[in-house]
């Protein structure tokens, strides 16, 4: 159950079950099959509806908008998530505007697949997690893939609703095995679903001393830390992994924080004006009397992502920063 293969299978299922689905993006056709090989094989079987484009991210977004307005279901691949900036006008001033500004007379359900994230030495412009610039855009859903969420279920959901979606795929998740909850467990951790948020902990929530909120690749790292701390140090925290980052489902966070009294957020994007700071603002209000310490926001340094492996590791959030923050928050 390798994530990139399952994701490809989810796209295949979308093409098979829904004639309106069109895949559009750069270098996505066979034999290449996309920069991360997610779409490999699909253009051979669906040549009309899997379309490779010139290097024109703005037009990819705009053409997707037109397809969606005309009743199709475009799924656009943005080769490197860094290039989503070239789609920004379409997302903010076109795609997310239509339904509301036309008073419900049109819908524009474009899905963007956005391979993101660093830790691969790709340097300043091919490693970023830029989703924070899209969080809070009205009428846009920002969803993050994780190893704990089934991509098939995600795409079935996208096709059943009409809001535009940015689907963040951290590049380091592609070769990983999915860790979907089975029998209420993920490995040695108990797994509880709260809507699309998955709670992972070694002991019941009431015995946890902190809540950790993380998504994507950082959720994978956080799960490893949570597991290790439980086994080796008998420190118990609850990890919450939401699928949807914006708008947030606050209920599971509120319920967990009510029990643990402490909250850490983890994201790979650069710090400040971010997912974590918004959560800190909202949860400070919602759980003011319940928090025994300030909310801790873990994010990457506010600079470019170095190409050098060593310098990149120091700049981006990784296991050491997560562990330090959890140890502090669990006290």
């Amino acid at each position: 159950m390798i994530f990139s293969k399952e994701l490809g299978a989810a796209l295949r299922e979308s093409l098979e079950t829904d004639d309106r689905v069109v895949l559009i993006g750069e270098d996505i056709i066979d034999p290449y099959g996309g920069a991360f090989k997610v779409t490999r094989g699909l253009s051979t079987d669906f040549p009309e509806r899997v379309r490779t484009t010139p290097i024109s991210e703005g037009a990819i977004a705009g053409i997707s908008a037109g397809l969606a307005l005309a009743g199709m279901r475009p799924i656009a691949e943005v080769m490197f998530g860094d290039f989503i900036t070239l789609c920004f006008d379409q997302v903010v001033n076109h795609i997310t505007k239509y339904e509301a500004m036309y008073n419900g007379q049109a819908t524009c359900p474009v899905v963007f697949r956005v391979p993101s994230g660093g830790h691969r030495g790709y340097g300043p412009t091919h490693s970023q997690s830029l989703e924070k610039h899209f969080l809070g855009v009205p009428h846009l859903k920002v969803v993050a893939a994780s190893l704990f969420h089934d991509p098939r279920e995600a795409f079935r959901g996208f096709l059943e609703q009409n809001t535009p979606v940015l689907y963040i795929e951290h590049k380091l998740l592609y070769p990983q095995n999915l860790r979907l909850p089975e029998g209420g467990m993920v490995g040695d951790l108990m797994a509880v679903k709260h809507g699309s948020t998955i709670g992972l902990s070694a002991v019941p929530r009431n015995d946890c001393t902190a809540t950790v909120l993380a998504y994507g690749y950082q959720a994978m790292l956080a799960a490893e830390v949570v597991e290790r701390l439980a086994v080796e140090e008998e420190i118990f925290v609850e990890l919450l992994v939401p699928a949807q980052l914006s708008p947030m489902d606050w209920t599971p966070v509120e319920e967990s924080v009510r029990a643990t009294g402490s909250l850490v957020t983890v994201e790979e994007g650069t710090g400040g004006w971010s997912w974590g700071t918004e959560i800190a603002a909202v949860m400070s209000e919602k759980a003011f009397g319940r928090l025994r310490r300030p909310i801790s926001v873990v994010a990457s340094e506010r600079t470019v992502i170095p190409s050098s492996r060593a310098r990149e590791a120091g700049m981006l959030v990784g296991t050491p920063q997560i562990e330090t923050a959890i140890l502090e928050a669990a006290k």
Partner: protein, 315 residues
């Protein structure tokens, strides 16, 4: 016919008033003149309402460019799609005849065609959309054309842009893809010589025509303000897109007789005055008996007076 001043359901049937839109039986030159007169008077009425303080925000009048809207849209059929821009009233009215929905929309009333949310630049009706951001509507119209192509239909997607929009990169990304993919798209470029306050010579290097031809897209170019000529040219263009399924451009060198939006006109008075001589309604009247255009003018006037009265009374 009087439209009762009641709340209009959001997705109502758009009723075309024969006094403003004419009928299929009416001789073509009369109907085309009538529609242009309707658009002209709608825009002039709006400008008056702005001065009166009834309207919020801004508006971009297409006075002087009515023949483009009417001539092209005469050939737009059921199932075809039009994407327009900030200067969209003429296109919208030529397509739908829905003066009340647009007037109410610009007045910010709930009965407006987009519930008062979209306003002057963002309107939507079956087969019609507009957006006030430049450039991005071109790939969107191409996407609509791609949907038509994938469905195997012979429908056509039409997008109206202006000379100023040629500054946007999204246009060229789209021309490339539209040509590569053979999309049934007609781009109507209304070159009105001024991008807001900036004349074409400060905006546009080289040739407008060659921009499209570089992508292998055929261009039909005209300087006419005669709706009969535009009617014929547009008829050929839309038919060609429909039969070949390929992108084409109709490049119309026209002129905007009013300010860009409101109170922002610094063009030389002599330049504007000269263009009033060849404005489309004056040209069209030369083909029609005076008694006929006077009758049409009176009918349009009466219909618009009702629209304004009805719209004013709306909650």
């Amino acid at each position: 016919m009087t439209i009762a001043p009641t709340r209009i359901p959001r997705q109502r049937e758009l009723q075309a008033d024969p006094r403003t839109m004419g009928t299929p039986e009416e001789p073509r030159d009369l109907r085309l003149y009538r529609r242009m007169r309707f658009i002209r008077r709608f825009e002039e009425t709006l400008l008056g309402l702005f001065d009166e303080g009834v309207l919020n925000g801004t508006t971009h009048a297409c006075i002087g460019q009515e023949a483009d809207a009417v001539g092209v849209i005469e050939h737009v059929e059921e199932g075809d799609h039009i994407f327009s821009n900030h200067r969209c009233h003429g296109h919208y009215l030529a397509r739908t005849g829905d003066a009340l929905g647009l007037m109410a929309e610009i007045m910010g009333k709930e009965a407006g065609v987009c519930g008062g949310i979209g306003g002057s630049q963002h309107v939507c009706a079956p087969g019609f959309m507009s957006n006030g951001v430049q450039g991005g509507i071109v790939p969107t119209a191409a996407g609509i054309a791609l949907a038509m192509k994938l469905r195997g239909s012979d429908r056509v997607s039409v997008v109206f842009i202006g000379d100023g929009t040629l500054g946007e990169g999204a246009v060229y990304e789209t021309l490339n893809i539209a040509a590569l993919w053979d999309l049934p798209l007609l781009i109507v470029l209304e070159d009105n010589e001024w991008a807001q306050s900036t004349p074409t010579e400060l905006n546009t290097a080289g040739s407008m025509r060659a921009r499209f031809e570089a992508f292998g897209i055929p261009v039909t170019e005209t300087t006419t303000t005669d709706v009969a000529e535009l009617d014929a040219l547009a008829g050929n263009e839309i038919a060609a897109v429909r039969t070949t399924g390929k992108t084409r451009v109709l490049l119309v060198h026209t002129y905007r007789l009013c300010h860009h939006s409101k109170s922002d006109d610094h063009r030389p008075e002599e330049e504007v005055a000269l263009r009033w001589v060849t404005e489309p309604l004056a040209i069209a009247r030369q083909r029609i008996a005076e008694s006929q255009w006077q009758r049409i003018d009176a009918e349009v006037e009466a219909a618009l007076a009702e629209v304004v009265a009805t719209a004013r009374a709306l909650p």
